[in-house]
Symmetry: C2
Subunit: 193 residues, 2 copies
DNA sequence: CTCTCTTGTCTAGCGGTGCTAGGATCGAAT
DNA sequence: ATTCGATCCTAGCACCGCTAGACAAGAGAG
């Protein structure tokens, strides 16, 4: 059975290669440039090979999104734990970590929240990395929801605000110079002691 | 010169038809379904006619976005003026009007803020309708920015939060049931007196 | 009223997209 | 050594945004 195992390993390795290459290409030239042909060429296989791993381009985007969600959760947890134990500082650190991640990995961020990766959100069958990313936000934000406010609901609102800032800034809808002040204002107003 | 005038009128009329049809098609079946072929067929002209009015599909999206911006500005102004003179009620009305517009005109909203319509934002050469839409938000939100907070900056933050709620809810990233409570929380926290 | 000549529109086509059918090849098992 | 199944590639489909060039209709000149 060793032969079969080796094949499965190689297959898994190639799948990782596809996802990593798609991500790399997307970050370099944008998702529009991630065509099945170009992607196939970069991994040095023919197009149909992609379809033996993923149903289609959408699923590849979804795979990148999941990878990104795991990373974002880690980044957020790292930043907030470094700012312990002050809840307010933790929230500020979370906001910065989130926006920083979005800015440094725009293509991944798009895969997660702008594009259709065929993923289920906020449901029972939501993939674990997505649930975990939300949980990472909840851990810190739940502390400052304020009296009588549901932590999950507060997290959703705070997250939405961050998402708005991230997307509008990057799309040139808001001038980037004052980004820092906007974050500060947001944290000051939304976080309750 | 009457002949020329008539031609110009007909041309302008056809341009309106193109924009209206693109918008209609986008609302019915999504922007992906708005192809130059389908659009041409619907207006009962051939494809190249589109390119005698617009540089390309991007400009058509931009035209829909401008139309939407003008409408949104009107809707927001209408809603806030009806809630005068209480500033807090005006803000709540604004938030609801904004989100309502986004939900009822998803394709137009996408044209304005999600897709690339080739428009300049937050710059000197930003088209008037966009500036005016922002001004409509500023008029009401500036009142509740709070002491020492720049009204424009506050408006940007509030807007970003609304934008986040609008997009995340519609894309299924947040459960729609509690949308109302999220808005309420947002208004309560961000608006100062 | 006829003849240009401009103006406007259409047909046809280019290079690209996501995706797939069917044939060739390679390697494991007999 | 030979079979046979898994694996991969070539070739192609229908569609995309966009454009060159043929063609027809109508305004203006004589």
């Amino acid at each position: 059975m060793s032969v079969q195992e080796r094949k499965e390993r190689e297959r898994a390795e190639r799948e990782r290669l596809i996802v990593a290459t798609a991500r790399e290409l997307a970050e370099q030239q944008g998702w529009d440039a991630v065509t099945t042909r170009r992607l196939a060429e970069r991994i040095e296989y023919s197009q149909p090979v992609l379809y033996s791993h993923f149903r289609g381009k959408r699923e590849i985007i979804g795979a990148v999104a999941l990878e990104g969600a795991a990373e974002m959760a880690a980044v957020v947890r790292e930043a907030t734990s470094a700012a312990a134990p002050d809840p307010r500082a933790r929230v500020a650190a979370l906001a910065h970590a989130y926006l920083d991640f979005a800015q440094r990995n725009p293509a991944v961020y798009d895969a997660m929240f702008q594009l259709d990766g065929g993923l289920a959100f906020a449901q029972d069958d939501t993939p674990q990395p997505l649930k975990d990313a939300f949980a990472a936000l909840l851990d810190t934000l739940g502390e400052v929801a304020g009296d009588g406010v549901h932590p999950g609901l507060f997290t959703e609102v705070f997250w939405a605000a961050l998402h708005g800032l991230a997307t509008l800034t990057r799309a040139g809808r808001q001038p980037p110079e004052l980004a820092e002040q906007r974050v500060e204002l947001l944290v000051n107003r939304l976080a309750e002691v």
